[in-house]
């Protein structure tokens, strides 16, 4: 065992301080240390995207980052996007358009999609498929995921226009 280091993280706006071995993978920090269980462990080999979180403005697979690398970072998970009383437009759209079946990939899908829409608020179907290529779903065939993201984009753009 290597010696523990002091880690300071902001997760969903909340400051977290703890001691951890540098080799701890961020996905375990979130799930087992901080009880933030939205990000899932799917393949654990950087392929499936179920563990996707946003770190300092980047979509990152939390199974492929040591907690030491994330020291000082700002992390957002699905829990930081919406809650049962106030769903994020993407959560609303996935519910409305059957964008999930078993739900396992959904937190990673929505967290990634939120970043995609931030960078490209009005994506075409092709751009959505290309931008979501790091997230695997074994239930839906992707059709309704793409539809959900398109619907959320329309909704979010309308809300933005109404506010202006």
């Amino acid at each position: 065992m290597s010696k523990k280091m002091h880690i300071s993280l902001t997760v969903n706006g909340k400051q977290e301080e703890f001691l951890a071995e540098p080799r701890e993978l961020l996905i375990y920090t979130l799930r087992e240390r901080l009880n933030i269980t939205g990000p899932h462990i799917g393949c654990e080999t950087s392929h499936c995207g179920a563990c996707t979180v946003t770190i300092d403005g980047k979509s990152v697979k939390a199974c492929t980052m040591f907690v030491a690398q994330a020291d000082g970072a700002d992390v957002t998970t699905i829990e930081g996007l919406g809650n049962p009383d106030s769903l994020h437009p993407l959560q609303e759209a996935f519910k409305e358009h059957h964008g999930l079946q078993c739900g396992y990939c959904t937190p990673g899908m929505i967290t990634r999609a939120a970043k995609l829409l931030e960078e490209n608020p009005n994506p075409t179907e092709d751009e959505i498929r290309f931008g979501m290529a790091g997230n695997l779903c074994r239930c839906t065939g992707y059709q309704n995921i793409v539809k959900s993201i398109r619907a959320a984009a329309t909704e979010m753009n309308a809300a933005k226009e109404a506010a202006e």
Binding site: M1, S2, K3, M5, E21, P22, R23, L25, E44, T45, S46, H47, G49, T52, K58, S59, V60, K61, C63, T64, M65, F66, A68, Q69, D71, R112, L116, F130, G131, M132, A133, G134
Partner: protein, 284 residues
């Protein structure tokens, strides 16, 4: 998957990195985006007792574009390359290649420096850098030196970089003419079954210069001088195209793996190179 324990360092400058490398030799490795190294550590195929994180070293993510040359800091990510308007104009082949690497999440983390320094024959940037005649800047205890990409790769994971050196930047003569990066892969996120980087200069109807490099078809990238020479002086008719492919097939030495047997890889290499040359020519 839990990697073996390691000591973690996050130095603030290059001299801090080099002194740790000098102290621990090949027991120490630098980590940039980590998307090659961390999976290997999780599988315990890489043993790294001392891990040196480069994220706090200033100035390593800079991209400089001038009329003659492009310099890309080693910590520049694939996402940064895709997102950079100046690069998209000056060297569009970089963006075309970066878009074919891995998936969006991996491209936010994976760096140019890591991709070229790792020496993995599956990585796309080494062949591309050979095509573009890039030079790599290495900094070590004795100062700075540059090594041409075409002389950097010795064998799989074996490069001209010494253990106590760090690759800090890639410099490319601003490319001219038509370009194409063509890649065949089994699925998103996979390495190439075969990939080709091509730059072509056209004068009237005649090819006056060409550069061709192939990826994942030998234990190093293959810059094929003979394939390029087969195009120069021709108008890229079918005879010239076939001569280029035949010359390339002499230079590569693929091995069988789960992407297919040798005969299949040679077939795909020919198809991919033909497509790349045709696309580069159409843009020249």
């Amino acid at each position: 998957m839990i990697p073996a324990a390691f000591e973690y360092y996050r130095p603030k400058d290059l001299s801090g990195v080099i002194s740790i490398l000098e102290e621990h030799g090949d027991d120490a490795r630098v980590i940039a985006g980590g998307h090659s190294l961390i999976p290997m550590m999780k599988l315990r195929m890489a043993d790294v007792p001392h891990l040196i994180d480069l994220q706090d070293i200033p100035g390593m993510s800079e991209i400089t574009v001038t009329a003659d040359a492009i310099t890309i800091g080693a910590m520049t990510t694939q996402h940064d390359i895709i997102d950079h308007d100046g690069l998209a104009t000056a060297a569009p082949i970089l963006r075309e290649a970066a878009l074919q690497i891995a998936d969006p999440q991996v491209r936010y983390m994976g760096t140019v420096g890591g991709n070229v320094a790792n020496g993995d024959p599956g990585n796309d940037m080494p062949g591309l850098m050979q095509c573009l005649n890039a030079t790599f800047t290495l900094v070590g205890p004795d100062g700075e030196r540059t090594v041409p990409a075409r002389e950097f790769y010795e064998a799989a994971y074996m490069t001209a970089r010494e253990d106590e050196e760090i690759l800090t930047a890639v410099t490319i003569p601003t490319p001219k003419g038509g370009y194409a990066y063509e890649k065949q892969k089994r699925k998103i996120g996979d390495y190439a079954t075969a990939a080709a980087a091509v730059q072509i200069i056209k004068d009237g109807d005649t090819c006056t210069a060409a550069s061709i490099a192939m990826t994942n078809l030998s234990d190093t990238p293959i810059w094929s001088e003979d394939a390029a020479a087969a195009l120069v002086g021709t108008s890229l008719d079918s005879v010239a195209l076939k001569a280029a492919v035949d010359a390339m097939l002499v230079d590569i030495d693929p091995s069988e793996d789960n992407r297919g047997p040798v005969a299949f890889k040679r077939h795909v290499a020919g198809v991919i190179l033909t497509r790349a040359i045709e696309r580069a020519w159409s843009r020249a």
